[in-house]
Symmetry: C2
Subunit: 254 residues, 2 copies
Amino acid sequence: MNIVFIGSGNVATHLAIAFKAMGADITQVWSNDHRNAEILAALTKAEPINDLDALDQTADYYIIAVKDDAIAAVAGQLHEVRGIVLHTSGATAIDVLKSAGTGYGVLYPLQTFSKTKAVDLKSVPFCIEANSTDTLEKISAIAHLLSTSVAEVSSGQRKVLHLAAVFACNFTNHLYHLSHQLLEAHQLKFDLLKPLIMETAQKIQSAAPKEVQTGPAVRNDQQTIDKHLALLTGSPELQQIYEMLSSSIRKSSL
Amino acid sequence: MNIVFIGSGNVATHLAIAFKAMGADITQVWSNDHRNAEILAALTKAEPINDLDALDQTADYYIIAVKDDAIAAVAGQLHEVRGIVLHTSGATAIDVLKSAGTGYGVLYPLQTFSKTKAVDLKSVPFCIEANSTDTLEKISAIAHLLSTSVAEVSSGQRKVLHLAAVFACNFTNHLYHLSHQLLEAHQLKFDLLKPLIMETAQKIQSAAPKEVQTGPAVRNDQQTIDKHLALLTGSPELQQIYEMLSSSIRKSSL
């Protein structure tokens, strides 16, 4: 199986290395960032290319993992290829690929990837979609090479999943950051919060989040809420976030 | 070592069972909720009491784990006791205990406790404070029975820790809940997000949250942000939370 990667960011890197480890040939890595293309190409014994005219037209799969707003432009240049063209974006509909090749679809790994941290893909949900049953089967086969959790998800549902992931991951990580800042400002170590953060994530693996909500807002402890808001007097932005999320927790618990 | 527990909620339950397991005698459990007092007393082979006049005055420790706004009233009734009086609250200063006994202090486990889920206390940070060096040593000794992570934290710092924990745990759990609701409304399973939630919490065990922030806000992807806000048209509250946290992420990344 031959795969060409279009893109060399976090998602491209994690997927390319994982496919390589499962025995696929990564034949080319294209990126408009020459250095990144070379790094990923070196890691996967592929040819780095910077010009889409140099694209191998005979690969089995073309995996586009570039910024969302660049997918359409790249896909527009893949109409000659024989293989299946995929994008990996949560927020982009399948239609963006309709001029690319004959078989096309989506391979969206629902996970957060950083360059510096390995991720075990085996349990990562891969959300797939295709322009035909035949293509769907092929995408399902390569997704199952990487993960035991493969689900067919429509473009409409995928948009919602991606949005929900922003709440559960991006916003959550930002709350970690805000708490990190608060502690640092008072000479306290962020390490103190790490077990709490792990336990909070672990709890909802087996219970609905609403059932394990704790804290002053859900128990309507206005005295503590007032103390917290007073502590945040110098940070109007944190006060606003505190008030908005506390009010949302209260409404949810009614 | 004899311990009397004042309170029978989540914190009291987890601590009493853990101390019992480490060989302490839990002699009494007081609660104004008769049934809860009986349940915890049965679990720890203690005597359930409902009247503070029946309190054993000779225990080594009195651990007050009641709602924050009830601590002062309970502590006011413990001036005759010989042992050390402790509260377990993050948001309450040590002074609330000053009329209670001669030695008093704080034993604050920085963790979220639910009745239905066991927590391994060994890695939970216990934040301690005392009215004297002698009392501090005794509190440190019993904290070390339960955990390898014991830190002296002043009342002022503890308030900040508690506030930071609200951001990192309570608010985070609420974001899990909001994403859960979003998925349910579109016939999608919350299970799909669970690996992402675990990975997000795991990432910051070894990296500063700011360094691993991902998502449309941090990469200034306005197109995706607009799509998400459009998806939330029917939920003005979620739109507001989305906009506020995205704007906060952008400011942090400047």
